[in-house]
């Protein structure tokens, strides 16, 4: 079994990079109650890839050879839109806007792919293809994730303050809109790159479930980050190790393990409170 897993170790390394980067950002996603923003950005990113494939099918040259560029542009545009309030000024509730973006992006991706590539492309966008991650892919993921994580270490105070109490941050001279957009920018960037390998479902999992596990087990911000990263890493390793020898899809296997970890954390939280 170990030999089989080691055969795909490059893919495992890539999955771990995605797990760590998404779980760190996921702490803000969960605490700020914007979990479906993560899903909508991932879906927008997949629509970007679908558009690239569609244009490629039409024989349009140039950028269509780089679906990543489309994924990044779509994800960042979505992140900026949601970061600026997502239609609140027009009187539409934020969660409704997120729902609209998610549904329209998902449908658009399916429609474009139906005319662009084989039917399996849609499954890859939804479920990802973790096993297909190569060393070069992992290096690309690292090149995006490491600077983002460094930014989050350096500007932890600022991201925390504008997330926790934006009014007071504003009175102390913080440019709340800027910091908010910066946070969403990092979120969009990581999602756009992670989505191409992990798919919408697994990225959404890493953004939400590890942070929820952290919230259940930890009593401090550093504790939440630590538990979130650890549980995402453990879920990635165990889920991956189960899926390969038993010929199961890796993404759902990792999600299942994440879910089990969160379920195990639940009674521990109840016991903590007694």
């Amino acid at each position: 079994m170990l030999e089989t897993v080691l055969l795909f170790r490059e893919a495992l390394y890539g999955a771990l990079v995605i797990a760590i980067a998404c779980s760190v950002l996921g702490v803000y996603v969960v605490l700020r109650r914007i979990v479906f923003v993560g899903a909508a950005i991932a879906q927008l990113s997949s629509a970007g890839i679908a558009l690239a494939l569609f244009l490629g099918g039409l024989g349009v040259s140039g950028l269509t050879a780089h679906p990543t560029a489309f994924a990044v542009v779509f994800a960042l545009a979505g992140a900026m839109f949601f970061g600026l309030g997502g239609g609140q000024r027009a009187g539409v509730p934020p969660d409704a806007t997120i729902g609209v973006a998610y549904a329209v992006a998902a449908a658009t991706a399916i429609l474009l792919l139906a005319k662009a590539a084989g039917g399996e492309a849609h499954d890859i966008l939804l479920q990802g293809n973790i096993l297909g991650i190569t060393r070069a892919d992992t290096l690309v993921l690292l090149a995006v994730s490491l600077p983002v994580l460094l930014v989050h270490v350096l500007f932890y105070k600022e991201f925390l303050f504008v997330s926790f109490d934006r009014e007071t941050a504003r009175t102390l001279g913080y440019r709340v809109v800027f910091w908010n957009l910066f946070l969403y920018f990092t979120l969009g960037l990581v999602i756009a790159f992670a989505m191409q390998f992990a798919g919408v479902m697994l990225v959404f999992n890493f953004l939400v479930i590890p942070a929820v596990t952290g919230l259940l087990l930890a009593r401090s911000m550093s504790g939440i980050f630590t538990v979130a990263v650890l549980s995402a890493t453990v879920a990635a390793v165990i889920g991956f190790s189960i899926s390969v020898p038993f010929d199961l899809p890796s993404g759902p296997a990792i999600i299942a393990v994440s879910g089990v970890l969160a379920l195990l954390a639940w009674p521990m939280r109840v016991l903590q409170r007694r």
Binding site: K157, F164, D165, E167, T168, T171, R219
Partner: protein
């Protein structure tokens, strides 16, 4: 006394909508001012102009150079879901002084503890903020406002949703901070009866109306009846002024429900 903040014929609003027009007043050093009025009348608009987050449509709002606010937001604007210790929340009041890409120092932590001691909850420093009672949370937020060493303490609806005991304790603490530290205080509230017995001056904001004066000048039946547009009585009990809106008489023939 030196004016820390001056409104000079200021017109305030959002976009094309005017909320308050042509208002002029000063907030001098050492003032204890209550900004009072019903919800939606424009208190927050004035507050934003004072804090500098709203630019007047006309006229000017000027502030003394180096003026620093200690802001205590409405309690529900803070997200208690964040697992933050009380001392960590208080430290946020020094974040701008600590600067970008730097962590709070030992001295910052000492100052945060001193602020908590000042408001009487040092023993709660390591407790999660979300686990505190309403009054304790408000004390923690006041400590955060104080730790930055402000010239003006600004409290936005500090007693909303609090019981009688907590309300009395929080307002007592604010008055104590004003008297003991000679701190300039601006307190925003919709509860005239609560504020009137603690502050020295009242700025009364009603829809399209604004009046400022000492408590004795504002808390008269004539002024309040004119400003609120309904008949009110102002009585005094044990040295406290109490405002009561007169109940409209029953229509002839109307049934009195048990």
């Amino acid at each position: 006394m030196t004016a820390l903040i001056s409104f000079d014929h200021a017109t305030l609003g959002y976009g094309r909508r005017v909320v308050l027009s042509d208002i002029s007043f000063d907030i001098p050093t050492g003032d204890f001012l209550g900004l009072v009025g019903p919800n939606g009348a424009g208190k927050t608009t004035i507050l934003r102009a004072i804090l500098g987050t709203l630019v007047p449509q006309a006229g000017t709002v000027t502030k003394a150079s180096g003026l620093r606010f200690g802001y205590v937001p409405q309690r529900d604007s803070v997200d208690y879901n964040f697992p933050l210790k009380v001392v960590d929340v208080v430290l946020m009041g020094r974040y701008d002084r600590i600067g970008l890409m730097r962590r709070p120092s030992r001295r910052d932590r000492d100052l945060a503890c001193a602020a908590l001691e000042h408001v009487g909850i040092l023993d709660l420093a390591d407790r999660p903020l979300g686990a505190l009672s309403g009054g304790q949370k408000q004390r923690a937020l006041i400590a955060r406002a104080l730790v930055g060493d402000p010239n003006v303490l600004v409290l936005d609806e500090p007693t909303t949703g609090m019981d009688l005991v907590s309300t009395t304790q929080i307002l007592g603490l604010v008055r104590e901070l004003h008297e003991r530290d000679n701190l300039t205080v601006l307190m925003v509230s919709h509860a005239l009866n609560e504020v009137a017995n603690y502050v020295e001056r009242i700025a009364l904001v009603v829809e399209r109306g604004f009046r400022i004066g000492t408590v004795a000048q504002i808390m008269t039946e004539e002024t309040l009846t004119q400003m609120y547009g309904i008949p009110v009585d102002v009585d005094e009990m044990h040295g406290h002024r109490i405002v009561v809106a007169r109940r409209p008489p029953l229509e002839p023939g109307a049934r009195r429900h048990a």
